[in-house]
Amino acid sequence: MSSISLRNVKKSYGNEVVIENLNLEIRDGSFTVLVGPSGCGKSTTLRMITGLETLSGGDIFIDDTRVNDVPPGKRDISMVFQNYALYPTMSVRENIEFGLTNKKIPKEERQRRISDVCEIVGLTEYLDRKPANLSGGQRQRVALARAMVKQPKVFMMDEPLSNLDAKLRTQMRVELINMHKRMGTTFVYVTHDQVEAMSMADDIVLMNQGKIVQQSGPKELYHNPNCIYTAQFVGSPQTNILDGQLPEKMKLGFRPEKVRLHPVEAGINIPASIQTKEMLGSEIIYSLQTPYGVVMCKSEEDMEDAVKVTMGVEFSSMYLFGADTVRLPFDDKARAAVSAVFGGPSK
């Protein structure tokens, strides 16, 4: 039982307001990822939950207990830092044990927990080494072990994979998912990397400029963005937005992977010329010049040397946004308006 809830939380440094009014519920046992560009307030939010950062207003509850005045060490939280923050003068064992001795856990219990955790993360042979004599991946494991051994209510991670190379990062992602499944503890994870967020989370909190833009599962976030910001944050290349053609400053969005390089039945068809072609292997990314601007397309189809194509997008894969960039329902009226502007289905 360890849900977290933030109510009307404010944070400012002097006159600079970082977070104005944040309300967030983190479900018990969930793997929640706070994601957003740097400076969006995600790390500050995480640090306020840990207690390393004081609140300028509002309340934080862990399991319905208000923790505003509880010091970080007493909140029953573990954290993995971006640069691991291992104690450089202590051996691996001492690093892992430090928190347990502070909690006055008896010696046999400590030994048992340490050997259990080291078994899991594979550190048993390195217990007597100093952090300086470990590789990046091993340091990461020490940081994880140090966090796990406390058996906390909540497990916090602040960009823990960003110092690893690409191969190790993919491997650690899988391990973290397994770890979460096994421990069943609430995980709160901060990253700026949407791929990390999508692949690991069962709940994503997308933040921008100190506000929560959308909170939902990864599938929902991808298929059902509630505004242009979300639509463009998730997915690569970015969601195409056609702006300036529709009435009432409405904007039309569709993902590059939904763009067809041939006419479609229930959708719009636009003449286009291929500008560039990026071979990714299984897929090709085209940049298409259309009368309405450049459109990106991700497709398995290889157009060889063709230049002129007809680009098609089905109605079912379109997002309509209002002038304020908020998502609008794609009803019959919208369909008619889009058909009128971009040319209807091909005959």
């Binding site: 004081t54 609140l55 300028s56 207003g57 509002g58 309340d59 505003n68 005045d69 010091p71």
Partner: protein, 301 residues
């Protein structure tokens, strides 16, 4: 509302801890730096001797009598000449020796030179002074025996008012040189080799490399060490006290030794304090100059 009061409580606690940890050091620094400075200036405005209970306020009289005193003029000029000789010779020698030891020739020997040259720096000035008293002894001193053996006339060293101050400076240079060589070598080793490689690609002659690349790159260190050496020279006391006692004929009497003598030998603390204030002004001026110059020169780092 509840949140804000609780928060200011933890923040207040943090602040209190900061003060508490600093407190012992602050108290000691106050007793041994701030209070003495204030008292020095205050006491310099009073007459009396070491045992007087209520010394008389005399205003700036101590200062005027100092500035009118021929002895004090000589003390000031002694101090400045001693400082100039020590600092200039030390810095020139230190830069030359550091550059020399930094070259790639005879590396193992370089290590030994460095070890030897630094040794006097950690030896008490009392020892070094007595040692040189012996070496410079006019009858049986080794230095004169050596000079005679090489066909030179005997040098009076500490015995003559013309050479005593220079001899004291010589001892200081001998003792301190290794320290400055060490600091300048550290600066030399911080110059990235790529700069020298670039100079080599440009076919720069060695001397030009030294004056156009090496010297400018270590100039902040030279400046800094010069200031350290200057202030150390202002403070000179031990060697004077052990080797010459200010003589012969007042020729090696410098500021700190003068203050000491006026306070404890002639029992004129007011005048001694006034001289102390003058020393304080010297130190402040040099520190200020260093501050200003280093501000305009930080573009290296």
């Amino acid at each position: 509302m509840r949140g804000t009061t609780a928060l200011s409580k933890t923040e207040r606690q943090e602040r209190l801890k900061g003060y508490l940890l600093a407190a012992p050091a602050v108290v000691l620094l106050f007793i041994f730096t701030v209070y003495p400075l204030c008292y020095l200036i205050y006491r310099s405005l009073f007459g009396g001797n070491l045992i007087t209970k209520d010394p008389k306020f005399v205003g700036l009289e101590n200062y005027t009598s100092l500035l009118e005193s021929k002895d004090f003029h000589q003390v000031l000029s002694n101090t400045l000449i001693y400082t100039a000789v020590t600092v200039v010779l030390t810095m020139v020698l230190a830069v030359v020796i550091a550059a020399w030891l930094n070259s790639k020739k005879n590396r193992r020997l370089n290590e030994l030179v460095q070890t030897c040259i630094f040794t006097p720096h950690i030896i008490s000035m009392v020892s070094v002074s007595t040692l040189f008293l012996w070496l410079m002894d006019s009858k049986n001193g080794l230095l004169n025996i050596l000079l005679n053996a090489l066909g030179f006339e005997s040098f009076p060293f500490l015995a003559s008012p013309d050479t005593a101050l220079f001899s004291v400076a010589l001892v200081t240079i001998w003792k301190g040189l290794g320290y400055y060589v060490l600091l300048i070598m550290a600066a030399l080793q911080n110059i990235p080799t790529s700069v020298y490689e670039a100079a080599e690609m440009d076919d720069t002659p060695a001397l030009k490399t030294f004056f156009k690349i090496t010297l400018p790159m270590i100039s902040p260190t030279i400046l800094f060490t010069s200031v350290v050496a200057t202030i150390a020279s202002f403070k000179v006391f031990d060697s004077i006290s052990v080797m010459t006692g200010g003589g012969p004929l007042n020729s090696t009497n410098t500021l700190v030794y003068y203050i000491y003598e006026y306070a404890f030998r002639y029992g004129k603390p007011g005048q001694a304090c006034a001289a102390g204030v003058i020393l304080l002004v010297f130190v402040c001026v040099i520190t200020y100059v260093q501050f200003q110059v280093s501000k305009t020169r930080v573009h290296y780092q």
